[in-house]
Subunit: 338 residues, 2 copies
């Protein structure tokens, strides 16, 4: 593969001049410029990004560590992240943590070894002292969707509080009173937050959330299944199950169906995170949709702000309720306020 030396030789100039042309430095004669251009084309020369990175100490690459690629929500997020990054002239390396802290750490370390310019993380369950170290070490970093308390970096996320309130209002209006939730891992911020918001929304209707109606899930389908089986085995099973993410909702649907029950006649189901497939399930599932595109874009912008020395902003965007048929008759209006 041709190097800058070959180009210089072919064009009859020094490597410095070639480099100047490549980086469009003003101080190059038109003549030299065209000769270099010609040599570049003739040799099919492409600058070696590795060498360039070593010298300039920047890779124009961002790392994205997400908790689970198979979760359509994160896949979509990753897509938007890459899109925005590309628009800003950066590449993205994705690491899939598979909800395992040690895998997450592995990816963070590998990414750091490659001297990525910045790190976008949606932290998995469990504590990672590494993450705090990295942030303190000065690596540009932004949390997206989830974050770690005590680690001082910008957070880009959706606030589901209002949407959850709308959901509870919707369920209450349909006559449901015994509501249960399949929570995410306690150690994830989104896990906790959704339970808290749910509990608070219930309080407005003088409803409570007893412990037996809080199932401990891990954001994976299997846990949704297990928790739901336990709910169904209760002397008085809940009338509606609210899953804190889409995969657990899927598991719940499985469990309900395996028990020979029908949605929504026998039991209702709602989910956090809306995905295209929820339109096509039997029945279509009522869900809370996050503005994934905006989230991904904002996260990249915040990160690049840090990388390029501007001051970044934490961003919180609202999620919104999308009513379908999995909790009972659809409301005539999409947003039912009380």
């Amino acid at each position: 593969m041709a190097s800058i030396k070959d180009v210089a030789a072919q064009a009859g100039v020094s490597v410095a001049t070639v480099s100047r042309v490549l980086n469009s430095h003003p101080s190059v004669s038109p003549d030299a410029r065209t000769r270099v251009r010609a040599a570049v084309d003739a040799l099919g020369y492409r600058p070696n990004a590795v060498a360039r990175s070593l010298r300039t100490d920047q890779t124009r690459t961002l790392g994205l560590v997400i908790s689970d690629v198979l979760n359509p929500y994160f896949t979509e997020l990753a897509r938007f992240v890459e899109e925005e990054a590309r628009a800003l002239g950066y590449s993205v390396i994705i690491g899939n943590a598979d909800e395992r802290p040690e895998l997450q750490d592995h990816h963070v370390r590998t990414l750091l070894d490659r001297r990525i310019d910045g790190l976008l993380v949606s932290p998995a369950d469990g504590d990672s002292s590494l993450m705090a170290d990295v942030a303190r070490g000065g690596t540009p970093m932004v949390f997206v969707d989830r974050w770690m308390p005590g680690v001082d970096v910008p957070v880009v996320r959706a606030d589901g509080r209002d949407a959850i309130r709308d959901l509870v209002a919707h369920l209450h209006a349909l006559g449901h009173r015994r509501l249960a939730i399949i929570a995410g891992p306690a150690a994830t911020t989104t896990g906790n937050e959704r339970v808290e918001a749910f509990r608070e929304a219930l309080r407005a209707y003088a409803l409570t959330l007893p412990d037996v109606h809080i199932g401990q899930g891990d954001f994976q389908a299997d846990s949704g299944r297990r928790v739901t089986e336990r709910f169904l085995a209760l002397p008085e099973p809940p009338e509606v199950v609210f899953a804190a993410d889409n995969l657990m909702a899927l598991g719940a649907l499985d469990a309900i169906r395996a028990a020979g029950l029908r949605v929504p006649q026998d039991i209702g189901l709602a989910a956090f995170d809306d995905i295209p497939w929820f339109v096509h399930t039997d029945p279509p599932i009522t869900a809370i949709a996050q503005p994934t595109g905006e989230l991904g874009r904002a996260a990249v912008r915040a990160l690049v702000d840090i990388v390029e020395g501007r001051s970044p902003q934490s961003v919180t965007l609202p999620a919104r309720l999308v009513v379908r048929r999995s909790c009972g008759e659809p409301a005539p209006d999409r947003r039912s306020n009380r």
Copy 2:
């Protein structure tokens, strides 16, 4: 960030010795070894992968360019690819071509600029002279799922021929005679292959595949919708629609539902590529499942074989029919042979 020089100074040895310890070269005294190890720990030193790559001319990184990350089939494939690569000591950089040849070329170029050790590609529609150049240029390369005729690199893929034959047998047994297909882009190998296999399978039952029953899709949901609308507008609409991938099946389902028809009573639906959601759609969709995990693993192994100087193998694995309810009453046995 600490460099090898800092470690050397701290340990009171030369950088050469540090490097030897790091690469577990035998010829280092136990004493020096422990001093270096201590210095590494004390400084939290991690070797700069960029510098190392420049010197050794290998990045221990593979590039994966896939046609559409939002397609669950490819997401799953990517996951397995990363898993196997990690097991073999490689990282993976994923590029999403979004079914756009120019984006695909962009990613290939960027990946090459970063001097990845090998390239795994599932080529999108359209011709890319770049790809042929790259292969000829000696970059280790393997096609996965789809390939480009005329480009001489190993191909790892699933053969759907038998499964499609099984599908047609299943449909025929259920009494269906007017069968239509939503094809993939003509320029993709999988696009063509599936149509041909379908046509051939029909021939065994003396059925034909008229042109009006071949819809030109692009592997995206929207195209499935459009093609299906056209099918439904036919004086004699098909009794079953077979979509050549899962997203187009989704689009077809939309169109069918928008037309006020029911699956499978009014029209049947089957898809190539099985995904978890097909169990939960209304009704569950009959599909042809590819051995995604094996495909991903085999592709990485073949690529790493080339990278490390062994001779690689093309691999073809069988796909299999998974009968559900979207084409009519489920057959009692899963594989209906005539």
